[in-house]
Each structure stands twice: as structure tokens, then as C-alpha cells.
């Protein structure tokens, strides 16, 4: 097996979940809308895959389709392999065992979805008992353990959500997601509404859980700095497709796709050299994807082929996989422009 390819995929074996050719089409009033188009990745045991991208690029749709949580107006195609089974073929009964026990979800804004009139601990107890048949007192004990594992004193279990700070609520939601020892946790923008100090605490907590419990995470975020801190591997989505995927260091430090490059270079940094940054022209497309490479209208390196032919993911020099014609024709890149 090609050594470099395995770098982009992560080490072989130990795969927790494998997503292959995932496509999601929504039926809308304006017609069919392919929100996710041919997305493939896998996540290994004890690994955090960061899924980065701007709004409407399909990252949340990807996350929700793994949980089979999309509405009736969505058609999901492809293969989501977990423990030798295809999640997309599971029956309702199988899904009940799969959700929360094998894969749990921290939805976007979920810290605000705690029930305001039920103590936080009771909500976790309820979540546990909805999925297995443990007794109330056992579930309480588990809840106390879970709360301590996310640095909340077990005595706070009887508090109501309004008595928690934003960071504590988010940690309680994480505790709930861990309740049934899932092998994979999907976290959709889990730190977005939090202040930077609380965000840092939460990222350290997730790292710690990953190391101690060997849990894998799919960490969805628009914030490249957060992804850069927490992820082991990174997938960058644009207009429903993964445009670059690989080890964090390859994708974020030495990006191969012009979109990743532009995105990395458009974040004003707090540290390091101060320099004039360039913005990416135009807007991210919504709904109607451009022909050929979907990034070509905004790409400073685009040439004729980019308008006609959609590039496939291929091994880049850095070791990541990038969907760009320049990866196979690097001489096209005008050095004067860089």
C-alpha cells in the first residue's frame, strides 16, 4: 500500500466509521438541491477528524446523515460503514441500538436545548434510561461519574440549566453524549457560541476524553483555528464536496488546494508576523454549484480545464489528498501570483 495515501487516510485498520460516496439531495420548492456530493472519509479509533467549511458547504448535512437524522425531504445515497453494517440500510430497531450507543451527536447550539424546567442530572438520567434498561439509581451513579469526567461537580446534577454557565451547559451536553460509551461522537460547532477562555477549556476536555477513553470525534466547525488545535486529520468542504483531506499538518500548514490556501491565509492571526492579508473574491455558492471545479469562479489559478472538468481527490506533494487540477499540473500555477 502506498505510504503517502495512508497518511491522508490516517493509519490503516482501527476504522470506526467509513463514509463512502455519500450524497444527500434535498427536495425543495425550488427543485432538487444536492447539498452533499460524493463525500468519502473514514475515522479511526481515538482520532479526531475536523470537518471544516463555510456556511452551506454541507458539513452539517454530512454530520446529520451519519446519524440518519435528516428529514423526509432528503435522499441519502452512498455507504456509511460501521462494525460491518451499513448505517443507511439499518432498520428502525437497529437504529435505536446504533444511535447514542455507537454514535452520539452534539448538535449545533445544543447547550441551549437543555430543558429549562428539568434538573440537568435528570435529563442525563433520562437519556441513559431511554437507551438501556439500567435502573434509576444506576443511571444516577453513571450520571455523577459522567459529570465529573467533564469537570462538573456531581452535586450540581440537581441544578437547573439556568444555574449553569454556557461552558458548563456545553459540558453537560457532552456528558450526555458520552452516556452510553459511544465509539464516535459527532460534535457540530460545539464551541462556537463560547468565549475564548471557555472554548479552550472545552477543547482540552475533548482532547482528554479522546486520550483517556479512546473515543473518536467528528468535529464540525467553520473555525480553522479551533480545528487546527483539536483535530488529528482535517477535511475541508466546499460546495458539497471535500476539496482537501489529510493530516492536520499537511492540510493546514502546507495546504495544496487553492481554497484551503486562501482560507488559511484569510484568518487574521493574533500571533506571528503582522501582514496584509488577501480576501477570497466572491461569495461561497449556495444551491447552484458551478460547473467543473466548484471553486473555479473564485480561484486565482483557474484555467480552462477547471471550468469543464471536475477534479478528483488525488495525492498532493504534502501528503494530503486535494481535488484540484493543479495537483497534477503544478506548472500551471503562476509563480508571480503567489
Amino acid at each position: 500500500m502506498n505510504q503517502l495515501t495512508t497518511d491522508a487516510d490516517g493509519p490503516p485498520g482501527n476504522t470506526v466509521i467509513e463514509v463512502k460516496d455519500l450524497s444527500v439531495t434535498y427536495r425543495t420548492q425550488l427543485g432538487l438541491m444536492k447539498a452533499v456530493d460524493g463525500v468519502s472519509f473514514r475515522i479511526n479509533k481515538g482520532e479526531i477528524l475536523g470537518l471544516a467549511g463555510e456556511s452551506a458547504c454541507g458539513k452539517t448535512t454530512t454530520a446529520l446523515s451519519i446519524m440518519r437524522l435528516l428529514g423526509a425531504n432528503a435522499t441519502v445515497e452512498g455507504h456509511i460503514g460501521l462494525d460491518g453494517k451499513d448505517v443507511l440500510q439499518m432498520t428502525e430497531e437497529e437504529l435505536r441500538n446504533f444511535r447514542w450507543k455507537q454514535v452520539s451527536l452534539i448538535p449545533q447550539g445544543s447547550m441551549n436545548s437543555l430543558d429549562p424546567v428539568i434538573p440537568v442530572g435528570s435529563q442525563i438520567v433520562e437519556a441513559i434510561r431511554a437507551h438501556d434498561d439500567s435502573s434509576k439509581s444506576d443511571a444516577r451513579k453513571t450520571t455523577e461519574k459522567l459529570l465529573s469526567s467533564v469537570s462538573i461537580h456531581p452535586s450540581r446534577a440537581k441544578n437547573y440549566p439556568h444555574e449553569f454557565s454556557g461552558g458548563m451547559k456545553q459540558r453537560a451536553v457532552i456528558a450526555m453524549a458520552l452516556a452510553l460509551n459511544p465509539s464516535l461522537v459527532i460534535a457540530d460547532e460545539p464551541t462556537t457560541a463560547l468565549d475564548v477562555v471557555v472554548q479552550k477549556q472545552l477543547l482540552l476536555l475533548l482532547q482528554d476524553l479522546k486520550n483517556k477513553l479512546g473515543i473518536s470525534f467528528l468535529f464540525v466547525s467553520h473555525d480553522l483555528s479551533v480545528i487546527g488545535e483539536i483535530a488529528d486529520r482535517v477535511a475541508v468542504m466546499y460546495a458539497g464536496k471535500i476539496v482537501e483531506i489529510g493530516r492536520k499538518i499537511d492540510v493546514l500548514k502546507n495546504p495544496s488546494h487553492p481554497y484551503t490556501q486562501a482560507l488559511v491565509n484569510s484568518v487574521p492571526r493574533v500571533f506571528g508576523n503582522r501582514r496584509q492579508l488577501r480576501s477570497i473574491p466572491g461569495n461561497p455558492p449556495t444551491g447552484i454549484w458551478p460547473t467543473g471545479c466548484r471553486f473555479h469562479p473564485r480561484c486565482e489559478f483557474a484555467f480552462e480545464l477547471c471550468k469543464q472538468l471536475e477534479p478528483k481527490l488525488q495525492l498532493s506533494n504534502s501528503g494530503s489528498q486535494a481535488a484540484c487540477h493543479l495537483v497534477s499540473q503544478p506548472e500551471r500555477k503562476d509563480p508571480g501570483k503567489q
Binding site: S165, K200, H222, S225, V270, Q276, P281, N283, P284
Partner: protein, 339 residues
Amino acid sequence: MKLPEAQVQNAISEPSPILEIRKLTVHFQRRERLIGRKTTIRAVDNVTLTLAEGETLSLVGESGSGKSTLARTVMKLNQPTDGTILFRGQDIFEYQRGEDLKAFRKRVQMIFQDPYESLNPQSTVFNTVIEPRIIHGLAPDKDERSNIASRMLSMVGLDPNSKLDRYPHELSGGERQRVAIARALSLEPELLVADEPVSMLDVSIRLGILNLLQKLKQDLKLTYLVITHDLGVARYVGTRIAVMYFGQIVEIAETDELINHPMHHYTSLLLSSIPGTENPQPLVVGSDVDFSYSAANPPSGCRFRTRCPKAQDKCASTEPKLTELARGHFVACHYPLNP
């Protein structure tokens, strides 16, 4: 080196201040619904700050630190509980004549965080941009109006031919924020207050807006007061950064000085928490936010002491004053870092 307060004020006042905030306090009264008890939210507490002509001052802080309240009070959208704000030497809360207030409104403009909410959805781009000038009698000639509006749009990087007749829902987030900037600048203001100007926008759009603000500032010789929670944004646009905590300024210095030599433990905690692998700051472990304190009931003495790793007895008993510890670098801390 500790200076008496009068001297501190002098030291903050660089030549020709455009805006002087003196001991500003803004409290809000809230009646709790069930109990009927009145609580006082101390949103801004005794803030003194001066903006020099042509500078960009960034106010940073966590949510609830009072930075937006401070900005809104500068805009005269809130009444102060105490203290004054002088714009070009005149107290903005003491204008006696309507025309003075109108002149102030023309000279100080604001752009808001959410361009999806700050534009009138029923108003075309043309009307949005031209309306302030009509109100202020700056576009009496109807034939001239489309010229003026076109010029404003070109200035913010929008094509007047295709955008003047559009409604906000037909524009992207970045385009909307550009329209909001054009509206704010249509009166040719001197001071622009920008409250989180890019935080609602997609990452790939943000830099376009920040670069535009930078260019306009140079071209039009503007002074900016920028409110942001993002230190990266503050550094990119700002000449100075003021850090707010619980309604007070805890540290203020030139941008690079503040980032490279933070002296307040809160600034240091903020900096060490910035995500990303290039962060050179050693991690500061602050205590958890103590939830028994709030803007209605801040801690005694130094308000950061409940989370500060270096807090001593004195911090609970005595409130530290903002003191100049290095040239232009003011810190409110009894035990500052690397003084």
C-alpha cells in the same frame, strides 16, 4: 511608576483627542419578574478612555463585559448613569440645541454586527444609502441623488449598476455589510463605531470587509472604535487595544505591546486561550467562572480576582486603578505580570 489620576488622564490624552470618555458609568435597572426585586446591572463602571484622531481603538472582551454598551453610549443610544463623553470637546449629553445633536449624529456613525438585521428589508440599496443624506439635507437635488449613491457604492466595492435597485434579501452577507458601511459613510462622518463588524460573516468574506474598512479609514481620514471579541481582528485593524472585564477596562496598550507583553492576568488568560498551534503563550489555567457573581453583583476589589491564578487578599479588598506601567501601557492590577 504610579501616577495620580489627573496625570493618568493626561497621559491617555494623546494630541487632539476626537473622543474623551470620562469616568463613564452605565447601569441598567431590571425588575425581576417573579420576585419584583430591582437589580442593577453594572454594564459599564467608571471607564475613562480617549480616542486620538485617526487611530483605531479595539475594545475586546468576553460577552457581557460591557463593550457593546460602551459603544452604544458613545453613539448616545444609552444614557450614562454617571460620567461624561466629550466629542471634539463638547459633552454629547449636554447638547442644548437640536442642530448640535444633528451635527453630532452626522459626524459619528455606527455599523452593526448583523447585516441581516441592520438593513431595512423593504428599502432598496439606493434608498438605504441616500436616506441619511436626505434627512440631513445633503442631497436636495433629486438628479444628484443617484450619482451620490453610485459613488457611495463604488467606494465600498459594490457595482452600482447591478446593486442600487436591489433589496437586502437579494444580497449576500458580505454585500449587506458593505451597504451598511456605505450608509454609515454617506454622511461623511469623522468617527465610525463598528460593533463586531465581521463576526456574522463567513470566514472567506471577513477579510474583504476588514480590508475595506482599513482602506476607507486611510482614504477618508476616519477614526475607528471597533468592538470585537476576536483578538485577531483587533490586531489586524487596531492601533490600540483596550481589554474590558465586567464593565471595566483592565488593560490598554498599543496592539503589539499588549499581545507580546500582557501585564494583566486576564489579558494573559485570554491570549493563552487563543486556539491554534502557533500560540506561543504558555497556557494559563484560570479558575472556572464563578457563577455567583454577575454584572449585577460583581466581586469586590478586583473583579477578575475570582478567576485569577495570582489573586491575594489585597485583590478582594482594594479595587486596582488603571495605572501606566510602561509608556502608553495602562493596567489595573495589584500584581501585574512583567511590569
